[in-house]
Every structure is written in structure tokens, then in C-alpha cells.
Amino acid sequence: MTVDLLDRQQAGIDEEQVFVTLTVADQLCGVPVLGVRDILGEQAITRIPLAPPEVAGSLNLRGRIVTAIDLRRRLRLAPPEAGTPCMSVVTEQGGELYALLVDQVSEVMSLKAVAFERNPATLPPEWSQFSAGVYRLDEQLLVVLDVGRLLALSDAG
């Protein structure tokens, strides 16, 4: 996807990409809207013993079992304070559904390719490995999450 976006930027095409924006530990992030199947509020999550720590558990989405990934843990962030509400973004990968647990899901944004940049070289590896690039918004920066990498748990160091 990174390459794709860069190509477009270099080609000077004024095309827009649509993202679902979310926050995790106060950082604004985005995932391409086409990959999002559902947005869920607080859910009952069944813990899965012996699973990798990033796996928060599984939940029932209209009869399908969805594996929940704790985005804070995946990004090596501190656990949220008690009582912080939790939402999830459901995506599909290889026919399986995954829910990314985040702090807050906000609006859907259409972003111009001209505002896109590669990851800053100084971005720590915890972030750079899951970030497909950054958008400069007026107020703040939006990190594009690489969902594929986020879900590739077996590769995690």
C-alpha cells in the first residue's frame, strides 16, 4: 500500500484515500475504510489461555468468531487506565475476522495523496513496522496502520 500511495503522489494525481480514523494512546491512526468490516463498541471478550499476549481474546460478531488483537499491546504501549472505554475495528484477513481493540474510533476521513509521507526515519521500530506512512492533517498527524503487519503475529519479535 505504501508503494501504491507513493506512486500516486509522485504521479501527482490528486486522488483521495478514505480512512477510518481511530485513536490509541492519544495518537491518531487510520485504517483504509475498504478493509473495515465493522465498528464495535465495548464487547464481551473471551480470554484465550496460552495465546500470544497481544491476543485479547475472541468475541462473537453475529455468529462469527472474531479474534481480538489488543492494539496497545501490539504497539508496546502502556495498558489503558481503568475505565477507559474500548472500541474495536473489525477487519478481514484471509477469510478470518479480526478486531483491533482501540481507545476510540472517530470519523471516516477522505485524505489527499499530497498530504502523505513516508515514515519519518526516526520512528521507533515498534511503530515503524506497523506504520505504512503518515498523513499531515491540519491539526495533527495521522499514522496509517498496516493491518496486514499488525495481524502477522507469528512474525512479531
Binding site: 473471551t46 480470554r47 468468531i65 479474534t67 479480526y98 495481524l151 507469528s154
Partner: protein, 841 residues
């Protein structure tokens, strides 16, 4: 008609329909290479299958047509209308023959030489006499066969099956699962309303939903025999090619499994059967020399086990040559000599699953092309399965494939540890044992050897694992109190799994876990329970592997013993609250119905509360002595006996728990029988007899006593004080003189002391001497040898009843079936007792 042939006809009809369209498209756009390849492939497939099935006419025509198409594809022949025409003519012929085949099951007679010659002529580029740009090719070079003349254009076979994409079925399944959950919620809502116009349609909806669910599940299931039906032919051909005599035995062909899984194991299975025939079995002469029957045997056996399908492929051939595998492994650099030296034969044999490993010293036409068992293993593992092998020199090799039932519905026991619930496939659960962590009371105690928990179960040591530790659930280890032990059968070994609680059994749909969780071998899948929550399914085999159990057959004896007396004393108990926070319990079997009636329907009659229930007045008895008039609704336990009913008003109905019941008697408070540990909590068990009498003073005296002149004497042998307390007044009320005995030994002492009875009612599960042994002794000799013997059992399964009858029981009654017991007694006592040890079967 042969199943293979039917399948061929269905496929061919589909292909022919597609071919027509594609050929016409080709005629319009002769340069379209994709269409051309597509046509070529279809014709090629038809030709190939015809040869396989032995259909010479079809094969000839298809072959000739394929030749032409091959040339066109290569570019050596232009796709002129003439060429297309002749191919279409050939397809018409194929259609005609296929139609005849569908009608009669055999190829119709006829001559195709003219058509074939015309096709061949086109193929070599000869200008056929009729060639002219605008002139159509000879449509009918040979006369159309007679048999086909009157046939309908579209054969009937095509309409019988319809191909549906698996995703469609998958979606249907998901929707049905949702429907079931919604139905369950609706039923829950409806239950809280006493009368509702929705009740009847909802009931119908519920039935239809269940039927629909069953139907959708069925669409995905296919008997494994479908994957096998080509094997007899393959084995027959192999037998000819190799000159070996081979017999193929197939067992469990009707074992059903998910269609998708079936497709994926088809090829591995075929490959394995080929292997067995080619490498496994010896030539007839070698077999004779080895003292074996000339005909080698390949056996396929499929069955369900522990939420998996097991498929065994075995042969009685020479077995895997350990020496050659070792040499090959060494030569191929798969292991060093030192490593090999420390390996067992079984470990060395497993090298055949390694990539590029083939022991066949020569490559035969049949197998041994270097893609061997490693591909089989990879394919099986792809669908979450595993493969094991067992081989003994000179005796043969058995491969055991284990595949999960990705979409099969299984019955599972729901247990909890550290507050989290898990499902254990019921099929691997042998029994449930209640044990104490410290010595107190009658339950068996968990003992420890160097901190490893074990349990003495019927004079054998049962290894235990704590689910909490095993899954690292992190609850602090309990040192005291009760524990439930799920005794699981893993292969031939037995293992006890310590859990905190045992809930009910549920039918569950096994769903595979997400790929990122597949490495956790403790789970065989996950599922959604009726209440909508996700729950993990434990894999007893994975647990056994993790704990190092399963290799030995050491614990087999325990298993056999457990099977013999599997019944267990599990009783479904209804938990409720009344007049206090602590739960009270009553055996669910005694409760006729649970009702939740609106407060305003509670009326008073002579100062006592009553309600109108099913057109009659039902007395209500407040359990706590007072009635809470504020609550809008009143939960009531309804007890019924004959046409009389009585309602016990309680504060709240809490739960139904199936548990072993051990009641410590206490006579301190009226209305309570005593205390039992139910679901890990001390719970008072109510004395139903007392409460029934509160409502109807003469509850137990209501029936006219039959034959008052001489009371029939009945001996009740029952170790549980609770049940004895329950039975004695019931039988007393039914007009019998009842004597209770707390053990078989006590009953036998009564016999030896000369006590006489007209009938004996005995429990089956009793410590020391169980009901079966007791019955044998009674029947053996003595004054009671010919008395009617009625067995009481918590769960009367066919094999239990069989065992009971063998031992000499006249009749079998489930516990709490008060009416059934009365009827049984009446019947036994009315007829002259025919039961003699010989005549009981």
C-alpha cells in the same frame, strides 16, 4: 446406475452445455486463445474420463475432436467455420451417446467411423470433399443410433443435483446460527410471560429453526465413502499392474464429514492407498514364503473420535524397513549417525514424512516419484489434521489420520476453571468424579506424589492435571474444598482433568480457531454457546500430549472398570433462593414445572394463598413463611402428583446444576433434608415431602390403599439417605409397608435374619457392593431368590439396563420416576413372579 457413471454424466452434461456456448463464441472470435484453451480442456477431460470408465465410443469421438482442437490451439489449423462445425457435430454425437448412456446405463450401439474420419481429415488439414467456405460440414456422417432417437434433449440426470458454492453454504450456516441465537432469546422472553399469543407461533418457529439448522448442516456433510468410491477401481488396476493379489476393505464409509475437508483428503488418501499397494504389500510369492495369505489386504477405516474424524489406512504387508530408512536419512543428510543411534524405530519411521524422502529404490508408474508422504502430511496438516504411523516388520503398516470436524456438531461438556468456561468433547469424557482437596468426608481425595496430583479411582491411580495450571489461567491454587474431575479417555490412556465447576452438556458447532492461534495444541476449536458467548474447545489429546500421557496403555484397566460402572450419581438440581441469600436445592426431577406468575393472580382461599393454575385452584406455600407482596411477579416451583398440584413460592430461581449429590442429614429444621455441596457451595436441600404436606395434609395418604388386608412388604436398598427419605414416604403412600436398608450388606443381613418381603427396590450405584453384585447374590440362592427386583438408577442407559438384567433385575426405573416405580411395583406384584435366574434375559 454406477455412482461413478452418474457423477460422470452430471459433469459431462455441464461441460457440454458450457462447450456449446464456448464454441459459438470461438466461431465469432476465432483468435480468442482463452476460449480455445477452455474448450480444449473440457473435451480433454471428457476424453480422459471416458477412457477411465471404459466408454469406447465416447472416447473415440472425443479423442478425434480433441485432436482437431489441439491443432487449432497450436495454431497449425485455423478456426474456420468448417472446423468449428465439425467439432460441433462431434459434440452433438457425444451428447447423443451421453443421453443414451443416461437412459440405459450403457453406450448405445452405433458407428462413428465416418465422423471420426472426417475429424481426422480436418486434423491433418486435408480438404474434405465437402469443404467449401459457405457450405456446412456433413452434419450426420453416420446414422444416429436408434436408441437415442426418442430421447429428450436434456437428460434427466442433470436436474438431480445442483452445484452450490461452498461459500453460499457457509453464509447460510452463519445465518442459521444467528437465527438459532435469536430464537433462543425469543424463547427466553416468552418464558417470562405466562400466557402469550406468541407462544404457539413461537413454538412453530422454534421447530422450523431447528429443522432448518439440521438441514443446512446436512448440506455440508458427506459420507467419506464419496472420497473412497474410486479406490476399488484403482486398487484393481494396481493389482493387475503389479501382479499382486490385493483385497480392499472399507469400513465406516458412511462416516460423515464436512464436504470441504472431504475434498482435501481425497488425494492424500488415494496416494496412501497406492503406496500401500505398491510398496507396502509384498508379491504373492513373497507372502507365501512369509507364511501369509497370498492376498494382501488394505483396510480403510473411518470413525469419529473426540471431535475428530479418524481415518486409518492399514496394510498387512512387509512393514516400513527401518534399516533402509535409516540409511536413506543418513545419506540424505537428514540426521547424523549419532542422532539416528539414539532414535527409536518409530522415530526413524517418521522420516518418511520428510520432504523428498522416498524409499522406493525404483520409480514405478504407480508411486515413488519423490512426492510422497511429505505431501500427504502437508496436505493433512493444512486442514488442521495430523498423521501418525505404526509399523511392525512383516506385519504391516497403519497410518492414522486425524482430521478435525471443522463444521460438525458435537456434544460437549461445559466446565469452568478460574472463572472461565471451556468445552470438552463429550465423546472423550468417561465420567465425572467429585473429589476433595483435603481429607474430609466421603469423597475421594486428591493425593500428591512430589506435587503431582493423582486420584485413587476404583483401586487404580488416575493421573490428574489441573486445568488452571495447564492453561496458565493464573488463579491461586486452592488447597481445600471440593473439585470436579473430568475423567477423559485419550486413546487407551485415562487422564483426570481438575476443574472448578461442571455445567451442563451442550450441542456445539466446532469452528476452527484463527490461524494465529493454531499453535496452541490444547484447543481443537472454538464455538459460540447458546447464550452468545465464545468458548474454547479443549482437545483432550492435546492435553495428553502436553502432559506426556497417551503413549502407554498403562491405564487401560481403569478405563474398563470405569466403563462397567459408568453411571455416576449425577443429579440435576434446581437451585433457588427463598428467605435468605444462601441457595436452596431440590432435585429437578421432583419439580413438575417452573412458573413465574404475576403477583395479582395470587389469591387467598381460607386465608391461604392459592392461584388459578390450568383451570384449577393450586395451593401456594410460601417457602420463607411470608409473602413478599411488593414484587410484581412470583416465581413458583410446581409439584404435581396425579391430578394434584402444589406451588412452592420462592424468591428467585437461580440455576440448574448437574452434580453429584451427597446429602449430610440434619434434622434441625423442618422442611430441610440436609446440606449438600452443590456447584462448590454448601446448599440446603429441601424436604419436598414436608412442603407437599403443608399444601395437602393428606398428600401422601390421598390414594386408597390397595389390598389393605395384607400390606405388601417392600425392601428399599439405597445408600443415599436423601433418596431413601424420599422413597419411603412415596411407597408408604402407595400402600406398601416399606423397610429401608442403607447398603447391600445391610439388606443381606436382613435376609439372613429371616426378614421376608414381596419385592426389593435397589439402587445400582452404591459403595462397597453395588446393585449389580447385590442382585447376583440375591438371585444365587436363599429365600429372596425369586423376588421381583427393581433397579433404580440415575441414568438408565441401554448398556446399564442390559447389565442390570444380566444380574437378575426384573425391572429398571430411573430415579425420581415416582409413577414409574409405583407402576413397576404394581406390575411385578400383580403377576406371579416369573423372574428366575434363567428366565430373566
Amino acid at each position: 446406475m454406477d455412482e461413478l457413471l452418474t457423477e460422470f454424466l452430471t459433469e459431462t452434461n455441464e461441460s457440454l452445455a458450457e462447450l456449446d456456448v464456448a464454441l459459438l463464441k470461438l466461431e465469432r472470435t476465432p483468435e480468442d486463445n482463452d476460449t480455445l484453451s477452455f474448450i480444449f480442456r473440457l473435451v480433454h477431460t471428457i476424453k480422459g474420463t471416458c477412457g477411465f470408465l471404459g466408454l469406447p465410443r465416447l472416447e473415440h469421438v472425443a479423442h478425434a475432436a480433441e485432436n482437431v482442437l489441439g491443432k487449432v490451439r497450436d495454431g497449425s489449423l485455423p478456426a474456420t467455420p468448417h472446423t468449428i462445425n465439425i467439432v460441433l457435430t462431434a459434440l452433438d454425437r457425444v451428447k447423443a451417446i451421453v443421453a443414451g448412456l443416461a437412459a440405459t446405463g450403457a453406450e448405445p450401439a452405433g458407428d462413428d467411423s465416418g465422423l471420426v474420419a472426417a475429424l481426422d481429415a480436418v486434423a491433418v488439414g486435408e480438404p474434405t470433399p465437402s469443404t467449401g467456405p459457405a457450405e456446412p460440414a456433413p452434419r450426420e456422417p453416420a446414422p444416429r443410433p436408434e436408441t437415442v432417437a426418442g430421447q429428450p434433449a436434456e437428460p434427466a440426470v442433470a436436474a438431480q443435483t445442483i452445484r452450490v458454492a461452498v461459500e453460499v453454504l457457509e453464509d447460510l450456516m452463519t445465518l442459521v446460527s444467528e437465527l438459532v441465537l435469536t430464537r433462543n432469546q425469543l424463547l427466553q422472553l416468552a418464558r417470562s410471560q405466562e400466557t402469550s399469543d406468541f407462544a404457539a407461533p413461537l413454538q412453530r418457529l422454534s421447530h422450523i429453526t431447528s429443522d432448518l439448522q439440521e438441514g443446512v448442516v446436512k448440506t455440508r456433510m458427506q459420507p467419506i465413502g464419496n472420497a473412497w468410491n474410486k479406490l476399488p477401481r484403482i486398487v484393481r488396476d494396481l493389482s493387475h499392474e503389479t501382479g499382486k493379489k490385493i483385497e480392499l476393505v472399507m469400513l465406516g464409509a458412511d462416516t460423515e464429514l464436512d464436504r470441504q475437508v472431504l475434498e482435501l483428503i481425497k488425494d492424500p488418501l488415494t496416494h496412501m492407498v497406492r503406496n500401500s499397494a505398491d510398496h507396502g504389500l509384498e508379491a504373492a510369492a513373497d507372502r507365501r514364503a512369509a507364511g501369509k495369505p497370498e492376498t494382501g489386504r488394505i483396510a480403510l477405516n473411518a470413525f469419529h473420535e473426540g471431535g475428530h474424524i479418524i481415518i486409518e489406512v492399514s496394510d498387512d504387508g512387509r512393514g516400513l524397513p527401518v534399516d533402509r530408512i535409516r540409511a536413506k536419512a543418513l545419506a540424505g543428510g537428514l540426521a547424523t549417525e549419532a542422532e539416528l543411534a539414539s532414535m527409536t524405530d518409530a522415530q526413524i519411521q517418521r522420516f518418511i514424512f520428510r520432504a523428498g524422502f522416498s524409499t522406493a529404490s525404483r520409480v514405478t508408474a504407480v508411486s515413488g516419484r519423490g512426492v510422497g508422504m511429505d505431501v500427504v502430511k502437508t496436505n493433512i496438516e493444512k486442514i488442521g489434521g495430523s498423521i501418525e504411523l505404526k509399523s511392525a516388520p512383516g506385519q504391516g503398516t497403519t497410518f492414522t489420520i486425524k482430521i478435525p470436524l471443522t463444521l460438525a456438531i458435537i456434544s460437549a461438556l461445559i466446565v469452568a476453571a478460574a472463572g472461565e468456561r471451556f468445552a470438552i468433547p463429550q465423546i472423550s469424557v468417561v465420567e465425572l468424579v467429585r473429589a476433595n482437596r483435603k481429607t474430609d468426608g466421603a469423597n475421594p481425595v486428591i493425593e500428591r506424589i512430589n506435587n503431582t496430583p493423582v486420584l485413587r479411582l476404583r483401586d487404580r491411580l488416575l493421573p490428574l492435571v489441573n486445568l488452571n495450571d495447564l492453561l496458565a489461567l493464573g488463579a491461586t491454587a486452592q488447597e481445600t474444598g471440593g473439585a470436579h474431575i473430568v475423567v477423559a479417555q485419550i486413546g487407551t490412556a485415562m487422564l483426570g482433568i481438575i476443574v472448578d465447576r461442571v455445567f451442563d452438556t451442550e450441542e456445539i458447532v466446532v469452528k476452527p480457531v484463527a490461524p494465529i492461534l493454531r499453535h496452541i495444541t490444547m484447543f481443537s476449536g472454538n464455538t459460540i454457546l447458546g447464550d452468545g458467548s465464545v468458548i474454547m474447545i479443549l482437545d483432550p489429546n492435546g492435553i495428553a500430549r502436553a502432559t506426556g500421557i497417551g503413549a502407554s496403555g498403562e491405564s487401560k484397566a481403569v478405563g474398563a472398570a470405569a466403563d462397567a460402572s459408568r453411571s455416576g450419581d449425577r443429579t440435576a438440581m434446581l437451585l433457588f433462593r427463598a428467605g435468605g441469600p444462601q441457595p436452596l436445592a431440590v432435585p429437578l426431577g421432583l419439580v413438575a414445572r417452573l412458573e413465574d406468575i404475576p403477583r395479582e393472580t395470587v389469591e387467598a382461599s381460607c386465608g391461604a394463598p392459592v392461584t388459578q393454575y390450568r383451570g384449577r385452584l393450586m395451593p401456594l406455600v410460601p417457602m420463607s413463611g411470608r409473602v413478599d407482596t411488593n414484587a410484581p411477579r412470583q416465581p413458583v416451583l410446581v409439584f404435581a402428583d396425579g391430578d394434584r398440584t402444589m406451588g412452592l413460592m420462592v424468591d428467585e430461581i437461580v440455576d440448574v446444576i448437574e452434580d453429584r449429590l451427597h446429602v449430610e442429614l440434619s434434622t434441625a429444621s423442618p422442611g430441610l433434608l440436609g446440606t449438600a455441596v452443590i456447584g462448590g457451595r454448601a446448599t440446603d436441600v429441601i424436604d419436598t415431602g414436608y412442603w407437599l404436606e403443608q399444601a395437602w395434609r393428606d398428600w401422601f395418604r390421598g390414594k386408597p390403599k390397595p389390598d389393605a388386608a395384607r400390606l405388601r412388604r417392600v425392601l428399599v436398598v439405597e445408600d443415599s439417605d436423601f433418596f431413601r427419605q424420599l422413597l419411603l414416604p412415596t411407597l408408604d403412600a402407595a400402600g406398601y409397608e416399606v423397610v429401608g436398608a442403607a447398603s447391600a450388606a445391610e439388606a443381606l443381613r436382613l435376609r439372613d435374619a429371616g426378614a421376608t418381603f414381596d419385592a426389593i427396590v435397589s439402587d445400582i450405584c452404591m459403595p462397597d457392593m453395588d446393585g449389580i453384585a447385590f442382585a447376583r447374590i440375591v438371585r444365587e440362592s436363599g429365600p429372596w431368590a425369586h423376588l421381583p427386583l427393581i433397579a433404580l438408577s440415575a441414568n438408565a442407559e441401554p448398556q446399564d439396563i442390559e447389565a442390570g438384567r444380566d444380574a437378575g433385575f426384573t425391572d429398571f426405573v430411573a430415579k425420581f420416576q415416582r409413577e414409574a416405580l409405583r407402576a413397576s411395583l404394581q406390575q411385578c406384584l400383580a403377576e406371579p413372579v416369573a423372574a428366575s435366574p434363567e428366565g430373566i434375559m
